[in-house]
């Protein structure tokens, strides 16, 4: 262990006590950090869901940040009066979710295309979209009817769309 060359007067017992104190302080700080970090993560989780997952989640969907991936249902796009707000349905094999979006839609936005909408379910029964993303990935193909959404691919194409 360390030798004390310039402070021979400091006793070993005192040093042991101060070291114990340091270790205890460190442990307390570490626990506090873990609690804060875990709380922070828990509050800010972003779920990657399909319409099926969203329906299965029930009440959990209200207020949670969700990236909802699916296909724009044919015939569901309604441009609302005003600059750029629109409504449409996102669907997969197991369900349909009604989405309201306020932003300018990206160039590729159209019926039957794979989209990811980020936002949350509101109590009025629709999905409030803050961000609408369409594939920029040449490898991505919108899920065909009868096929589930490949979520890993969805994740990738969210990243490309950013």
């Amino acid at each position: 262990m360390s030798t004390v060359m310039n402070h021979p007067s400091v006793s070993d017992a005192m040093r042991r006590r101060s070291r114990l104190f340091m270790v205890a302080a460190f442990a307390v700080a570490a626990v506090a950090f873990i609690v804060i970090a875990a709380g922070g993560i828990n509050k800010n989780l972003v779920y990657y869901w399909t319409p099926t997952d969203l329906h299965a989640a029930g009440d959990k969907a209200y207020g949670a940040t969700i990236r909802l991936g699916g296909m724009v249902a044919p015939g569901s796009i309604k441009k609302l009066p005003g600059m750029s707000s629109l409504e449409f349905d996102v669907k997969d094999t197991g369900g349909v979710v009604h989405v309201k979006s306020a932003g300018v839609p990206p160039q590729m936005f159209r019926e039957n295309i794979g989209v990811v909408v980020e936002g949350t379910m509101v109590r009025d029964g629709y999905f409030k979209c803050n961000r609408l993303m369409v594939s920029h990935n040449n490898e991505y193909r919108a899920p065909k009817n009868g096929h589930p959404v490949d979520k890993k691919q969805m994740e990738q194409y969210i990243k490309d769309a950013q």
Partner: protein, 666 residues
């Protein structure tokens, strides 16, 4: 033919590096000078073989030899030469070969520079480097195999990912990132050598510190280039999204920065040796973890992960290194005993300690947020990510306190400071803090965190400039001429010190610019017909029309905008929508007008006939980040160049306890 030659070189480099690693460790164990000589020869041979293999691949790419697997995957006859050259790192298999190439260059350089020194440590260091070399040789020979022969070579290939071709920064960013990442192998080797030898003498600090500083410089610039690229290309107007790929590059930077600071305490006070070594080991581990996360495809696609065994192989390597490092640290950390005692929190080393704890906290914050989704997915099969607010809310306070420490620490003397001393050092910079925060308030800053950051930034700026100025004043008082005093104190003798304060100055500007640019941003989506205009943040944007530009590999539609303020023209911007041959969907490229005050950023959402939907983003100070990071890099280079002071320092540092001198050589 070419692919066989490449495979042969890789197999030989696997053989040479494995043998060299065993030889190195054996030479260290037996303290054999001959063994060390042979280990060095093996290191140089490995480097030659690996660099040769990379040149073979470049030759195959340039000559469009589609019988080589990797060329068939990313090559194309239609792309410009520079794209062909950088195709080496455009895809997974090639980028691992590129890793091998850079590792080879680093190993050769480090072995050459230490040829006459540190003979008690070098066998272990070379052994460790070659161990890493043998792993990457194995990865290239087996799981990645870019040199695989294609039985029926195609006439032409698809070319690299269009995102790579979209901006020239994508050609510069990866090499810098790799130079930063791979370079961490060298200090890792030195630290492992110190642990294996059970001693870390003062003379060995210099190679440890310098070998850490060089990759740190590259990594610092690489992180900035990545952010700049995202800003210039991706069209959402930001430079950092806490994406796993970004986090992977930040994590080793954080621990390496902490290690550079604790190495200073180690040099001055002889303490924190085990801690510094731990941080160096952690930096290397985090580069491997980062490679696993970004290169194995765990975050991208389940397919690339299951199809290739690269990911699992890297994971095994990571586990081996982690277990090895922890075991070694547990067994040997006590032998790197500290020579001096911690004297009190109100001292420079006290603040170094706080700095280190904060960097570690920062690292854990980012690490947990990045790895958590992976763990949940592995355990529960559910997919999620940790949202930006988590990172922002955790990192902003840590960053603010770090900036505070950056100001207070250098103002305090080494050893225990008396109350009087502390007052004299800590009170004057409050003027700087008040001035900068006042300017911010006058210009409309209202976010409390931004105001705090500005105040801390002003404080730190005054301390940093004061510390840079101090040795000049001291020399002038001693009777030197002003010019001589400046040159002598900053560039000849105090070069390391001057370099570190340049880095600090850059860091202060970066943190302030990040705070201002992320909280003072104006963003608005507008839809305009031709001839119409909209006003955002005092600027008037007039859409004057579109035109189409044809290039060999893409067709671009440009939307032209006139930007005016109070009737005076400020800029003409032309964001574009690009259609690549290899891609079904169009890809936008924003256009940016950068001024000292801030950026005007236009990004097209969609174009329909005569109407355009465009995202207008006004961000103050964002351009400051890029050049201030370059200033940090320049400071690093200044600190790295050996000065006459370094020699003096080395001689002096052989004595066990070092007392601080009046100026401090840092």
């Amino acid at each position: 033919m070419t692919s066989s030659l490449g495979r042969l070189l890789i197999l030989l480099s696997l053989l040479v590096s494995t043998t060299g690693a065993v030889l190195g460790y054996a030479a260290g164990w037996k303290k054999s000078a001959d063994g060390l000589k042979w280990a060095r020869r093996f290191a140089f041979t490995f480097s030659l073989l690996m660099i040769g293999a990379t040149l073979v691949m470049e030759y195959a790419l340039i000559s469009h030899d589609f019988s080589v697997g990797y060329v068939a995957q990313v090559g194309s006859r239609d792309v410009p030469l520079w794209v062909t050259l950088v195709s080496l790192w455009s895809s997974l298999e090639g980028s691992i070969l590129f890793w091998g190439f850079i590792l080879a260059a680093y190993i050769a350089g480090a072995t050459w520079l230490t040829r006459n020194e540190h003979i008690e440590y070098m066998p272990y260091a070379i052994g460790t480097w070659l161990f890493s070399g043998s792993f990457f040789s194995f990865l290239i020979a087996g799981p990645a195999s870019p040199f695989q022969t294609v039985a029926n070579p195609p006439m032409d290939g698809p070319g690299p990912n269009p995102l790579l071709q979209n901006h020239v920064l994508m050609a510069i960013h990866p090499p810098f990132l790799y130079l930063g990442y791979v370079g961490m192998t060298i200090p890792f080797g030195f630290a492992t050598a110190a642990l294996l030898r059970g001693r870390l003498g003062q003379s060995f600090l210099r190679p440890l510190r310098n070998s850490l500083l060089l990759p740190w410089i590259f990594l610092t610039i690489a992180i900035m280039l990545g952010g700049w690229w995202a800003y210039e290309v991706l069209g959402w107007g930001g430079y950092w999204a806490w994406d796993p790929v970004e986090n992977a590059s930040l994590l080793p930077w954080l621990t390496a920065t902490a290690a550079l600071h604790s190495a200073l305490v180690m040099e001055r006070r002889g303490s924190l040796k085990g801690w510094t070594v731990t941080l160096v080991q952690a930096s290397f581990l985090l580069t491997i973890l980062g490679t696993f996360m970004t290169r194995s495809g765990v975050f991208n696609s389940v397919h690339s992960f299951t199809q290739s065994s690269i990911g699992p192989t890297i994971l095994v390597f990571l586990a081996v290194i982690l277990i090895g490092s922890v075991t070694l640290l547990a067994l040997r950390i006590d032998s790197l005993e500290s020579d001096s005692r911690f004297e009190g929190p109100l001292s420079r080393e006290g603040f170094f300690l706080i700095n280190n704890l904060l960097f570690v906290l920062f690292t854990f914050t980012v690490l947990i947020g990045t790895v958590f989704p992976l763990v949940v997915e592995a355990l529960k099969g559910k997919q999620m990510s940790v949202g930006r607010p988590y990172f922002d809310s955790m990192v902003v306070p840590i960053g603010a306190v770090l900036l505070f420490i950056l100001g207070v620490g250098p103002a305090l003397p080494w050893g225990r400071a008396s109350k009087e001393q502390a007052k004299r050092a800590l009170l004057p910079p409050l003027i700087g803090a008040t001035i900068v925060a006042g300017i911010g308030l006058a210009l409309g800053v209202r976010n409390p965190w931004t105001i705090i950051t500005l105040a801390f930034g002003g404080y730190a700026a005054q301390v940093t400039l004061g510390q840079m100025w101090l040795p000049v004043v001291q020399r002038i008082r001693r009777g030197d001429s002003a010019g001589h005093a400046i040159i002598d104190s900053q560039l000849v003798r105090g070069r390391r010190r001057f370099g570190s304060y340049l880095i600090h100055a850059g860091a202060v500007i970066v943190i302030v610019a990040i705070a201002v640019s992320s909280t003072m941003r104006t963003q608005q989506e507008v839809r305009l017909n031709r001839g119409e205009s909209a006003t955002v943040g005092g600027y008037t944007f007039t859409f004057t029309g579109t035109d189409v530009k044809q290039e060999p590999h893409r067709t671009s539609t440009l939307a032209h905008f006139d930007v005016t303020k109070n009737g005076r023209q400020v800029a003409q911007l032309a964001p574009r929508m690009n259609q690549y041959a290899a891609m079904r969907d169009p890809l936008g490229t924003p256009d940016v007008h950068t001024t000292l005050k801030g950026d005007i950023y236009l990004s097209i959402m969609n174009i329909e006939g005569d109407a355009v939907g465009v995202n207008v983003i006004l961000t103050p100070m964002v351009g400051w980040i890029w050049w201030a990071v370059l200033l940090m890099g320049a400071g690093g280079i200044v600190a790295l160049i050996p000065g006459s002071r370094a020699v003096a320092l080395q001689a002096r540092s052989e004595s066990p306890v070092i007392q601080g001198d009046e100026v401090g050589a840092n």
